[in-house]
Symmetry: C2
Subunit: 557 residues, 2 copies
């Protein structure tokens, strides 16, 4: 067999937040690590979900041997249905991660026939020339793993998302020893999570929220309503334990909350004390000081349980004065407005609010801070290092952090963005050719509903100044327009101000453009549309300083 090179191909998640996906190729074999989605920026108007462009994988579909999932967060598994609808490939992950994937597949009617293979930390699988060992890491979701991939050229370690929690609530420690073992034997390349590289020190243990939650339970005289991410099983366990200790029953509100607690309970990852559960419909009948409600909707999502509770529009829960509402989650940048709007509504109902940064914390991150990232680098001591997961500024900072390893055998650091590739052969590592990548915008969560860029661009234009459509009926016998042209407009000017005057004047502008055109021009619709557009644009811009989308329509009648 001819000597092959190892290619590292980031399909998503490098130089951007979310939609993590990375391919490793050696000769004619490819494995894929994670296939995540991203929640769209507000700028992507009307788009529900963004997934990576899988062109590279589709073009090499015969070579793809495995999809390996590090953990069950949406930015690592959210695009699995979209990838599996194109590629029939075995999927590996923990039972919990796969259970979450299966729910997603069912929603897309893809569950049947999917090759889902549950693995455990410590287990090794083979896919083509790759030997993949799964390594337990601590993270905000249970069942998170890193992967150590032995290739013919050496070992590649992909950390997935992690923090090094010294006191995890489930007492399953971060597997320092396996990382150390690989580090001792020699690692070719480390790919490590950069999400929190700009935070100094160590990320606090999940256990650090316990004193704050205890304080909430001690002070609350009525109902406690706690919102956290439904995937934060550790957090849910702490809430359940505290509820049991304080003689309160627990009701879960929200579909995702129901789903995930059911899955994690059935897999033995969430311990639910006997008789502690309260049905949502019984919340209002129970004694207020004997109830904890755990509701989804930390980000102020408009249809979430907590948002509906905030505006007193939830059928099972109505907040009263002196209830306590706790937001035990990060405020994701970009969501502040909707979160604070929700909090304001809750404040108006008279509830006591616990949210934001405080000491002891009401939320801790699941990602490693700078010191933990250094620990990872020092444990693994790779020959090459490539930061993954995060915007460019974070990847670069992570690269700077790794400089101190130079004297310990680190030969080179590569800051790549999605679509850049890294090639490693016997002589060393270097950047390779770029591959096709990008983002695919999805409407309505349906697989067919890809939103094209041009549609989004149009929506953006429309959202700024609306549209103006001059409609001209041209008599096909005389080539003359019938009557004064019509104008239809929305989102441009209102009718209260001088909008109707402007639109009437605009009709005359169009009529004059028609009159002043030759009969030859009038038979060429393309020319006429362009002339009308140009004249009208000039007129409207002068009158209003706005630039609506102008789209002349010529009807031959």
């Amino acid at each position: 067999m001819a000597e092959q090179k190892l290619q590292v191909v980031p399909i998503g998640g490098l130089g951007e937040f979310g939609m993590n996906c990375l391919a490793l190729r050696y000769g004619d074999d490819i494995i894929v690590i994670d296939a995540g989605m991203m929640f769209p920026d507000a700028e992507l108007l009307g788009v529900d979900v963004v997934i990576p462009d899988f062109t590279y994988l589709e073009e090499h579909r015969e070579l793809v041997r495995a999809l390996v999932l590090t953990h069950g967060h949406e930015d690592h598994i959210g695009a699995v249905p979209f990838l599996l609808s194109e590629l029939d490939v075995p999927v590996y992950g923990t039972a919990f991660t796969l259970a979450l994937v299966e729910r997603r597949l069912e929603e897309h009617e893809l569950a049947e026939g999917a090759q889902l293979n549950a693995v455990k930390p410590g287990q090794v699988i083979e896919a083509g020339p790759f030997k993949i060992e799964f390594i337990h890491v601590t993270h905000s979701i249970v069942s998170a793993m890193a992967v150590a991939i032995t290739t013919p050229l050496g070992v590649v370690i992909h950390t997935g998302d992690f923090k090094v929690d010294p006191t995890p609530t489930d007492n399953i420690l971060f597997d320092l020893h396996t990382f150390a073992e690989y580090g001792k034997r020699g690692v070719l390349l480390l790919l490590s999570d950069s999400t929190n590289v700009d935070r100094p020190g160590y990320t606090e243990s999940e256990r650090a929220v316990r004193p704050r939650l205890e304080d909430v339970f001690n002070r609350a005289e009525r109902r406690i309503i706690i919102s956290c991410f439904s995937s934060s099983i550790h957090r849910l366990q702490q809430i359940l334990d505290l509820a049991a200790a304080n003689g309160r029953k627990v009701a879960f509100l929200g579909r995702s909350m129901m789903n995930v607690t059911e899955i994690s309970h059935s897999l033995g990852l969430l311990e639910i004390p006997d008789g502690i559960l309260l049905r949502p419909q019984d919340i209002m009948q129970a004694q207020p000081d004997k109830v904890v409600v755990v509701a989804s909707g930390t980000q102020g999502e408009p249809h979430s349980a907590l948002s509906r509770v905030a505006v007193d529009n939830h059928k099972h829960l109505s907040i009263r004065g002196d209830d306590t509402v706790v937001l035990s989650a990060r405020i994701i940048p970009g969501n502040e407005k909707s979160i604070y709007r929700m909090i304001n509504h809750i404040a108006k109902r008279g509830a006591n609010l616990v949210y934001g940064s405080m000491n002891p914390p009401v939320h801790v991150s699941g990602h490693a801070s700078a010191e933990e990232l250094k620990l990872m680098l020092n444990l693994v001591r790779p020959r090459y290092f490539m930061p993954i997961h995060g915007e460019y500024r974070l990847l670069r900072r992570h690269a700077q952090l790794a400089q101190h390893l130079r004297h310990q055998g680190l030969e080179d650091i590569f800051v790549l963005e999605t679509g850049d590739t890294l090639e490693i052969d016997r002589t060393g590592a270097h950047r390779g050719e770029r591959v096709t990548v990008g983002r695919v915008c999805i409407d309505s969560g349906s697989i067919d509903e890809v939103v094209e860029d041009v549609v989004i661009r149009d929506r953006r234009n429309l959202s700024e100044d609306g549209f103006v459509l001059p409609i001209i009926a041209i008599n096909k016998h005389t080539s003359k327009s019938e009557g004064l042209p019509e104008i239809v407009s929305r989102g441009f000017v209102g009718v209260d101000d001088n909008g109707s005057d402007i639109l009437l004047a605009a009709r005359h502008v169009v009529a004059r453009t028609l009159e002043e055109s030759t009969s030859e021009e009038r038979t060429d619709w393309g020319v006429m549309q362009e002339k009308i557009r140009a004249d009208l644009k000039r007129f409207l811009n002068k009158q209003t300083q706005r630039r609506p989308l102008i789209m002349p329509v010529i009807l031959e009648v």
Copy 2:
């Protein structure tokens, strides 16, 4: 004279961030404190500026005696041109605040005839039955003041925006003594800034950024580019001082930076060491380790100096590797995406970046934290307290903070939102009738360009799923449609996917609706438009799960 009541009428800024404006009325006399604007949410598509609805003041225009400005930030003075275009009223503020106002008035060609009266802290003016004393406070902008308004019923203190900086860089201390004096004599009502009530402890002194900036100057081997708010004169002074101490010249980039430094320098508020200024066009010729550039654009505003520098599109400055870029400003919630996008571009140019939270800080807030707010309450010891400036959750927290004053004579606390009113007479204080308030959306910064709510709603709809316009030409003689109806659409479906199929099918749906209508219906355009809209909506929603704006156009030809 019959006994009158004192009315407190918040026109803006209570229960919302920005556009601060509050009226005090006693009998037939009104004074107004501040007239600020608000930068719009991303949800207000295409809107540039939001100002308060001044209906209440316009309805009582003959009674308005004075507009008093506490300081020169946009959320306190940004709406002055809009108010003065309606109301001819004398304006009072410091020379610096009025200079900023004058620039704004000039932009709107309203400067001529405006009655701008410069006042100083300690000065007292009279307006109707009101005696207004100005009190110096510390804030992130220079020349900030609180006002103590003596009314026939007692003293009302309005803090403006403040923090209690124990070591201001200009050594002009917060005037604790005057607040103490009023407190001792008895204050009827305190209106106090709630912006930072959710931060525990004390806000750090402006001087606290000095060590961080020193560190930047000590380490930088090439150009230093610092971005801060142009109104942060204290910050600019510290940068100028450090530049002088380190033998670097200073260039200002950005129009607002130029404007404000010119004004503050001419008023003696900013000391510019001799010969230190560098013209922007000379930046690239100067030795890189002898230059500091101070650029506007901390919030990633697309046309700002720093944003243009970030994408290497500024005519006077091009970032090279190992330049140092410092963001010495708060990341305003909602701006994260654009700020981080700008930072990523700067990182790609290889610059060293200093931004975000760190110790010592690279930015400190200008608003009082919880302990300072308690100090204000304890100094003033009002009979009534009403938190101002901020969202409801903050006003409420500020109210809770004030509870501890109950035993010191605080009789009642009022959490009001914009439009609620407070009435005080000899018997006490109580809520009054609501007044007309709201927000007015302005396009293009022009006074006439008010954007109606319906226009914004249309833009929002358009931005989500675009529009579909069926156009039907009906022969006025036969009442039949001529040919297959046309459909014009943008922002709905693309042409690459099955969009054109859907639109063709939609034309047939419209045709069928027409055919299946009676000739009587066909003569009633309103009925036909409604039928077509309903049928098309059902069809498109079934095909695409989207809800474009549908607007049937019927042409009689």
